[in-house]
Symmetry: D2
């Protein structure tokens, strides 16, 4: 069985394991106040092109999303998100568990637009009984989105402008940020994201680390007391250096971007094979997740040899499936797959 079902099926990039072994006996301070975390923070600031940002390391994505959102909103506020947004569908109500409603908007390709946010905001404030309604308090987007699409610089700038005009902090979930930055046609850079978002995170779990997400806070108002939130919500790792070490390894010398590019190249080979055979896709993804639409019979045939995820039913005889690549995807496995796609 060759597995393309997710981007967290293996351990970590080998260089991370080497570094863990080399430093294992060292004694460091706990809770993220060690030198590895310090160094990783400096590297992140360098990538962001901004020495003033705050950088924190958390363990996983759901934890990061709920921690950031709980730190930003007041109790009567909700977070605007796409209906397909991870916080709205796949986090067991972690945001609601902190007391906040997800204000879900239908979004083409998983992307929110500036116009949607503007409309939601102005509808709220023009309602005579607005105190009876959850107040929009921030905006959550994912880049890449759950459907693998990416925001253009222009789209993100427009969203950012709308958010700032209306006092809504903009939060980007970057669980797969590396793949977005490595996408064909992507024109966003880390400094762009740093300038346009109030807070975002650079995902490690799905991009080569054992686990870990690096939160970057750019908005001065959102920095205060963030470490309390990490601790309260269970994200403050006692041996915090494990997070520092991993991000240091990923960011030192550009490993993070290198493995992201590899994964995207592998995904493009898969995409091209499906496209060449005339298959349609659920959405046009230039990143490491591909969602071709197959017949039940084609799914059955491929399933004999490959693991991939059934994503959503299209109709009685067709469904969209998901093929994922990662740092660990072997080109030979992709070649075997593409050959089989051509034979479908």
């Amino acid at each position: 069985m060759i597995r393309f079902e997710c981007d967290y099926a293996e351990g970590a990039h080998p260089r991370i394991l080497e570094r863990l072994a080399e430093t294992n006996r060292e004694q460091t301070k706990g809770y993220g106040e060690d030198e590895y975390c310090g160094n990783a923070r400096r590297l992140v600031r360098g990538l962001c092109g901004n020495e003033a940002v705050d950088v924190h390391f958390l363990v996983g994505g759901t934890q990061t999303n709920s921690t950031v959102i709980a730190s930003v909103l007041r109790p009567h506020q909700g977070v605007i998100a796409a209906t397909t947004g991870h916080i709205n569908v796949h986090e067991t109500g972690a945001v609601e568990a902190t007391g906040h409603k997800v204000l879900a908007l239908q979004a083409e390709d998983g992307k929110l637009t500036a116009a949607q946010v503007e409309r939601t905001f102005s509808e709220h404030w023009s309602d005579a009984n607005h105190e009876h309604i959850v107040q929009p308090g921030m905006v959550y987007i994912s880049n890449p989105t759950e459907g693998g699409t990416v925001y253009t610089k222009r789209e993100l700038q427009a969203l950012s402008d709308t958010c700032r005009k209306n006092g809504l902090p903009l939060f980007m979930d970057g669980a797969r940020l590396g793949y977005g930055l490595a996408a064909e046609g992507n024109d966003l850079t880390m400094p762009d994201i740093t300038k346009m978002c109030d807070v975002f995170y650079i995902g490690g779990t799905k991009v080569g680390a054992l686990f870990g997400e690096a939160v970057v806070i750019t908005n001065e108002n959102l920095k205060k007391d963030f470490r309390y939130f990490i601790k309260q919500r269970g994200g403050m790792l006692a041996k915090g250096r494990l997070l520092g070490l991993q991000f240091e390894t990923l960011f030192d010398g550009g490993l993070y971007f290198e493995i992201s590019r590899h994964a995207v190249q592998m995904a493009m080979m898969i995409r091209d094979a499906f496209t060449a055979k005339g298959f349609k896709f659920l959405c046009e993804s230039p990143t490491n997740q591909q969602f071709p639409i197959l017949t039940r019979e084609q799914i059955r045939i491929l399933s004999l040899k490959y693991a991939f995820e059934l994503w959503t039913n299209i109709n009685d005889h067709q469904a969209a499936v998901r093929f994922c690549t990662s740092w660990a995807t072997r080109e030979e496995d992709v070649r075997t797959l593409t050959k089989d796609i051509y034979s479908l």
Copy 2:
């Protein structure tokens, strides 16, 4: 200005004020443990045709909804409701503030169907990663709904059957229950509702009381420790007898049903006038709220003399508006209005 904008614009039915005055100097125990509450409980049990139900008196609707829901769900569960449901749109996220997601379903005329609930439930449990998704834990309906429609006995029975089969407590928000029971064509009785729902409430605020909602818990499993929830969520009135007295007055001799019938008759006169003139309605309401669709110009004209609520925009030149009646609506005012409708 003649006011039809809501059903809580006046004080209370005069008999209630008389009773408050008569009993004012009496000394009673606090927190709902007085004799008036005891007597009101007996009356409610009689109406329900069930001596075993628990009856509690709370102050208002939002409070009652969030208190009941918080008492039923475990933290990982959400409440299924119509997208138009009061808890989903007009309670400032009170349910989310207790940690729970509202699982909102599109609903024709504001009514959930058994099939919808069944589908939502089975989709959850058939998802391989269901632990990543909020678990449906109960069902919330309103009767009448926010659009003034009512459930038929058959519809409610089907919903109840589905809920019981799947272990989902069924909760009916009866903020305007009196008007539903008095509706033309209604075939539900209090004993029916008692049998079909696990918990429901009989609204007082909008049906003749100064304030107050009478919660009836029929499901044995939901009865335990409910008074703690009332206290914790701020609903335990120190002078609880005020609630007991009001419901005693409303239920003793059938005053509650009498004033509900009056309100519905007044609403039907308004409906008939609009219908006779060929107006369409947002939905077919047989209860005390009517939602005719008018042009901007017609709205402007009626607004000179009447207060009513702009409900929702239909298009650039039309909107649905809401006319409400209550125990306090005067027939002469309705006659004046209907005359003006005919002149539109």
Copy 3:
């Protein structure tokens, strides 16, 4: 049976019932935006000697406490209170239900001191791992306290200074504020309290109203969006005018202070009788609650004729009990009681 067990055993001052009856048929806007609320707000601002304060009307004390506290604190912060504070012992964890720890300090006579607050604050910030500890975020006091004692002007000024120096909003629970202002030896005025506290409330439930608490927010930073909190936490009465009318009646012409003085005079008669007979008290209360220490036998004898509350056990044969007076306490009943005290 003559009842002294609490200050909410009767209905409301008769003038309130009269006003309710007179205005019953009037149609007003809901949710506290009517003219009675507007007028009551003006009266409160006058009493406070400050036209800029925000005034809101809520239904009950537990609701008010948890609503105010939830509006002030961020999620990682707690509220400093006396161990005997109402929020710490008698609100079923309403504050914790909003996510916040009560940081309870032992307090002589129920009163917090500036020094205690200072110490708690500085201990927190001097701890190297302070992010692992709940951050003190505000201070809650009651005046009168649960033991009937009152803060002097000097004590409150010191507390206020400490709180402001450390950025801790000071919140006064004034459920029985009238009795505190009417106490012998009290040197605090409404304008003093307005200046020294960031937010406080003037209790109606225990001082002559059917129900209701008037929240006064003096700190500009705490005013924003408070009405959302009232709604979310179930405190926004549909027929908000009931609250406005009651406070208008109480504050117009000084009725609130007049009935408070009456209650305190009655309490002093009781206190003097116990003192004259050589009884000790749990604490020296100059307000409407008295806590004499009696033997079991004395308690048994008085219980035959009077209702009062068993407060706390002192030892095997003695207990402190509570006698309460209110606007409704009759002098003749107090005279009967004092005679019986002398005969003990």
Copy 4:
């Protein structure tokens, strides 16, 4: 600088890193449903002597405590704990953030007694207004406690009996459980703990793992839907096999117990040196944490060469400090320390 300041200063036992490297390229299912987790679960069940227990792996201690407690309590309930309990002082209010009060009891040496729990429980239920008070809903203990003490079999049995009689689930925080089981004089076994507790966890973070806590649920009623709670509260690691692998390594062949014994032996050498020199201790700890009371001058001298934690001030010139050992503590470092203790 030789470090004794905590038991999480190093990475993990080398065998764990070896296993991570060996299995790194393997593809497994995520979220704890892989074979390593399966195997680790079997090993835990074997240790517990009970094949029916549920076993879950979470990342850290604070997360585990708040997740377990949130899964057990209903909203109006609180958790009984010692005032020194970790959940009461060092978790930034994580329990309160889930809505629950910590009912803190003064406890000698950090241990709760059956009598205390009984008293707290019966006091609650004998209060006429118990609905106004947080209901005791479960009991939290740590073994070893924060002071390094351990429960005897008899003490734990008594606690367990009291808890079961009163329907209070008993939860043991075993962040350092290995050290407790390896303590001199300990007479508790894993099967004992399994029988006496309703839920407990076996700590990995502080006993040789990179991170990880193994939760064991023995009470059938507490098993339902626990994975939802793990996910919602951010504890469900995408690459769950990292947890499985670590616990498999620790429990296969008894490594966990071996390294715990080593740490305790090292601690006993430190204890014996202080004792021989006549030093007193904050409490008598037979486990890996020692709390000798030193003068400021002695602390200053030792600080030049050793890192250890200032625990609590005793008086102006004395303080209790903490020396910790772990799997990684070298005997030669301890010998150097003991020599310096003798020279104090």
